[in-house]
Symmetry: C2
Subunit: 144 residues, 2 copies
DNA sequence: CCGGATCCCTGTCGATACTG
DNA sequence: CAGTATCGACAGGGATCCGG
C-alpha cells in the first residue's frame, strides 16, 4: 500500500499542485464574499441589483462587492446586465455554471449554520486551556 | 410576492447578517488553505504529518500551514497528535465534524477540476474585450 | 533534523471621498 | 445608483532562528 500512497500522492499533486489551473478556480470560490454573493443570488432566485446585494451582504464594502462581482463575472458564474435608465440600474444574475457553483457554496453556508453551536463549543474549550499559560506569566512580579 | 421577498430578506439577514456567529464558521472554511488541508486529509483518509501536508499543499508557507491547522483544530475539525520522539512527529487527523466539512470542501475542489476548462474559456473571453482599451493608449508615442 | 515561532516586507482589504 | 480613487491597516509570503 506504500505504492498506492505514492500513486495517490502523484494524482493529488496533478490536480492540486501549484501549477494546476483548477487552483485559480478554487481561489475564486474559496472566498467568503464570493460565497455570500452566490448564496444570495441562489436564495432569492432572481437577478439582484448592486445595492440589493450590498444591503444583503452586511459589512461588505462597495470595493469588495465590485471586485467579487467582477471575478465571478469573469469566470462566467454570473452575468451583468446594465439598463441605461436614470438612475442607472445594474443587475447580476447566475449563469447555469453559477447555479452549480452556488449549490456547493450554499451547502457550506447551511452546514455552518447547522453546526455553529458545536463549533463554538469546541472553540471555547480550545481557548480555555490555551489562554491559561499566558496568565501564568504575569502572576509573579514579586522579586523585582 | 413583495411580502414574500421582505420575509425572505429578514430570514436571510438572520442567518447571514454580520452578527450571526455562523459567519465566523464560514470564514474558516471559505479559505483556500483550509479547503486544501481538509481535501488532503480526506483524500488520504489517514492522519498526515506536518511535513506531509506541507509537501502536498505546494506553495503553502509553514506559517500559513500552522495558522490554518490551528484554526481547524480550534473549531474541532481536526485533531492534533504529538508523538514525543526524536525527531518529533506531529500528526493531524479529521474529527467526525471535519469529515463532514471535508465532504463539502472536496465537492468544491472536484467541481473546479471538472469545470476548469469552461471557466478558463470564460476568462479569456472576458479579458479579450476588457484589455483592448488599454492597448490603444500605448500605441501612439509619435509626437514626443 | 522536524515542527513552529518571529521578523520584515509586500499585497490585499476596509473606510472614506468623489464622479458619471 | 453604481461605481472609481486614495490612503491607512492588516493579513499573507519569505527568511531566519529556536526547542525538542
Amino acid at each position: 500500500m506504500d505504492t498506492n500512497e505514492s500513486m495517490a500522492l502523484a494524482d493529488w499533486i496533478a490536480v492540486n499542485g501549484r501549477d494546476c489551473p483548477s487552483r485559480t478556480v478554487v481561489e475564486v470560490l474559496a472566498n467568503k464574499w464570493a460565497l455570500y454573493v452566490l448564496g444570495a443570488l441562489r436564495r432569492f432566485d432572481r437577478p439582484l441589483r448592486f445595492s440589493e446585494l450590498r444591503r444583503l451582504l452586511e459589512g461588505i464594502t462597495q470595493k469588495m462587492l465590485t471586485q467579487t462581482l467582477r471575478a465571478l463575472e469573469r469566470d462566467g458564474l454570473i452575468e451583468r446586465a446594465v439598463y441605461p435608465t436614470v438612475p442607472p440600474r445594474v443587475e447580476y444574475g447566475l449563469t447555469p455554471l453559477g447555479v452549480e457553483a452556488g449549490r456547493l457554496t450554499s451547502a457550506i453556508s447551511e452546514w455552518s449554520v447547522a453546526n455553529v453551536a458545536q463549533i463554538l463549543d469546541a472553540r471555547a474549550a480550545y481557548d480555555a486551556h490555551s489562554e491559561q499559560p499566558l496568565e501564568r506569566i504575569v502572576t509573579s512580579p514579586t522579586n523585582a
